[in-house]
């Protein structure tokens, strides 16, 4: 009884009392703890500010009138608040049609890429077959090869597209697929789209961690290979599939390389954004009646670009706010190891 009471008093004894008992260790430790967290807070605040500052700048600039841009007093809070920039940028980028195109393309491509990568990743993770190591090495090679190396020949490949010479045999000429969407869908279906190797790798890592017993139990209960995959494995893999889907969607949304190579004729947000300074220059030249776009002020054109960039990334920010867990947590839970 008395022992218990003793322990209780020791626990609730004053800070200084406990400090004296530990020979000054407690005080030192507490002070160090506070110092570390203050330093960390300052450092992290600075680094976060560093990352967020361009975004905040863009937001403030996008509400400024042209007059404010030249005003040396105005830096971050606009003097003449306006939403005119947004209207103009939306008009120049044909925002309402472009965003629908972008949505449709990104969604379909992301779904296609993830579903094909799931199949391939599952195959690599759960089956033993000859040459498995070789094919997986091919996946790694694919991740490492920059698409620019093969871009020249892909260009020609789709310009003079043919399947085993069949089209040439029947119609007498090859098909020009360069200005259609088909090549890119074909490439995505063949796992050769944007960063597709990475998704295969992530999904394989996930499936490898599922215990073998689960699969064996399903086999014993009479599930076939495909049924096991669909009914046992897929429901488990939801988190990693969502995160792969989110990555595929976002990277497709902002991608400039594949889009300008294969999807040049469809107005996508990323392409329109790239062209925005030129479009804007042309527009200014037209309304001022000048012969060329050389006279357009650089700050105003850049302000336009900032507005356009914001309009392109706003859907992504909204997505990120809602699906933040999907992006970060499943990436860290896959246990990426070499």
């Amino acid at each position: 009884m008395s022992k218990k009471k003793n322990a209780a008093t020791a626990k609730y004894a004053g800070f200084w009392e406990r400090n004296r008992q530990s020979g000054g260790y407690l005080l030192r430790k507490t002070v160090m703890g506070y110092a570390v967290s203050i330093c960390r807070a300052i450092l992290l605040f600075g680094l976060c500010f560093l990352i967020l500052q361009p975004l905040l700048n863009k937001i403030s600039v996008s509400f400024m009138t042209e007059q404010d841009l030249y005003d040396p007093i105005v830096t971050s809070i606009p003097l003449h608040f306006t939403t005119q920039n947004y209207k103009l940028a939306a008009g120049l980028m044909e925002y309402s049609t472009t965003i629908i195109h972008s949505l449709v393309i990104s969604l379909t491509i992301a779904i296609l890429q993830v579903s094909v990568s799931t199949l391939v990743g599952y195959g690599f993770a759960r089956f033993q077959f000859p040459l498995k190591k070789f094919w997986f090495a091919c996946v790694m090679v694919m991740v490492l090869i920059p698409p620019q190396v093969i871009s020249t020949s892909l260009h020609l490949h789709f310009r003079f597209f043919d399947v085993l010479g069949l089209f040439k045999l029947f119609t007498g000429s090859t098909i020009n697929l360069k200005s259609s969407v088909l090549p890119y869908y074909l490439m995505s279906a063949g796992c050769m789209g944007l960063k597709n190797g990475l998704y295969i790798y992530m999904i394989r890592q996930f499936f490898r961690n599922i215990p073998k017993e689960l699969e064996e139990a399903a086999y014993v209960d009479g599930c076939g290979t495909l049924k096991t995959f669909i009914r046992i494995m897929l429901p488990d893999a939801k988190p990693i599939l969502t995160s792969c889907f989110l990555f595929a969607f976002v990277w497709q949304w902002t991608d400039g390389f594949y889009s300008s190579m294969f999807l040049g004729d469809i107005s996508l947000l990323s392409i329109k954004l790239k062209q925005l300074p030129d479009t804007f220059g042309g527009y200014m030249a037209r309304i001022s009646g000048a012969a060329s776009s050389a006279g357009v002020s650089v700050p105003y054109s850049n302000c336009m670009l900032a507005t356009g960039t914001l309009m392109v990334i706003v859907p992504l920010i909204i997505l990120y706010l809602f699906a933040q867990k999907g992006f970060v947590e499943s990436l860290s839970s896959t246990g990426i190891k070499m």
């Binding site: 680094l47 990352i51 033993q128 620019q148 093969i150 796992c191 990334i313 970060v328 860290s332």
Partner: protein, 304 residues
């Protein structure tokens, strides 16, 4: 009896092998059609002069002419190549150090950790693809940033003062210059290290705290346990991150070599030279990745 069982087992294995191949068949087909074939074709084209006709193209064999032209005649290529590769090496190292450091800081337990983590991850989403290039070209943003900097840090700023002090010491000035360049471009480093931070963080979280406790009781300082426990435990992730960083850097849209190649292809329609240039670049980058990962993998420690 025994033989029949063995046969049956072989049959099951065969079936599984076939279904395995069926599962990865999209990859095999895609790899052969969209990767191997174009790869060999572009290798072949790099030795040719590709003439585009109406409806056809015919490569004419010219041997090493394109490579010769790229390295010895073209005014820009060699300069861009050395510039890009030194930039890649320096920035990749900086990104590794930065992301490891940030992961170490975020790994502790404090309020608002999730918020900080999501802020660091934000650039993976927002600074990808075309945004990266447009951001770096935006002069107005740079001007605004400069104004903010001047307003915040007085007239000269503390970094300038430190830089001038270090410059006057006269020791290792060149190394300092590289360091200053990285510090001036810390934003570039920060926005391209989102994924690396998350990977390091996931590695740090798997280290069991009992190791640190044991080390603490044995009288190990924090600094020692960083080098003796944390570093070896996440060393395999250094390899993953290093490869990811280098490859990511090669594919960035603000890479000048890539721009030059794309220009050659789309504007000048010089497919042969463009292929030669991209192959030379590719082989160099591969060599760098191979050698550096070999060196890193020597130092990797596997716990299991």
């Amino acid at each position: 009896m025994k033989r029949r069982q063995k046969n049956k087992l072989a049959g099951l294995q065969k079936r599984k092998a076939i279904s395995g191949y069926l599962f990865i068949s999209p990859f095999i087909v895609g790899f052969l059609v969209f990767m191997v074939k174009p790869l060999f074709q572009s290798l072949y084209m790099s030795f040719c002069d590709v003439q585009l006709g109406a409806g056809t193209f015919n490569p004419v064999w010219r041997g090493l002419f394109n490579y010769n032209y790229a390295f010895r005649v073209d005014a820009e290529y060699t300069r861009l190549l050395t510039e890009e590769i030194t930039r890649m090496a320096i920035y990749s190292v900086a990104i590794m150090v930065f992301s490891f450091f940030v992961a170490l800081i975020i790994n502790g337990n404090f309020k608002g950790r999730a918020l900080v983590r999501s802020v660091f991850f934000l650039p993976v989403i927002l600074a990808s693809g075309v945004m990266l290039k447009l951001d770096s070209e935006n002069a107005l943003m740079a001007a605004v940033a400069a104004t903010v900097e001047v307003n915040a840090g007085g007239t000269a700023g503390i970094t300038d003062a430190i830089q001038s002090i270090l410059r006057t010491t006269g020791v290792g000035v060149r190394a300092f210059e590289q360091l200053f360049e990285i510090i001036d471009n810390i934003y570039d480093v920060a926005i391209s290290s989102g994924i690396q931070i998350i990977i390091f963080l996931s590695g740090l979280q798997t280290i069991s705290s009992s190791m640190y406790e044991a080390a603490d009781i044995e009288g190990c300082t924090k600094w020692e346990s960083l080098w003796k426990i944390t570093f070896p435990m996440v060393s395999s992730l250094f390899l993953v991150n290093w490869i990811y960083t280098v490859v990511d850097f090669c594919m960035r849209s603000d890479n000048e070599i890539i721009e030059k190649i794309t220009d050659l292809m789309n504007v000048n329609l010089n497919y042969g030279l463009a292929s030669a240039m991209s192959w030379a670049y590719f082989v160099l980058v591969m060599a760098i990745v191979g050698v550096s990962s070999l060196i890193i993998s020597k130092g990797v420690y596997y716990y299991e």
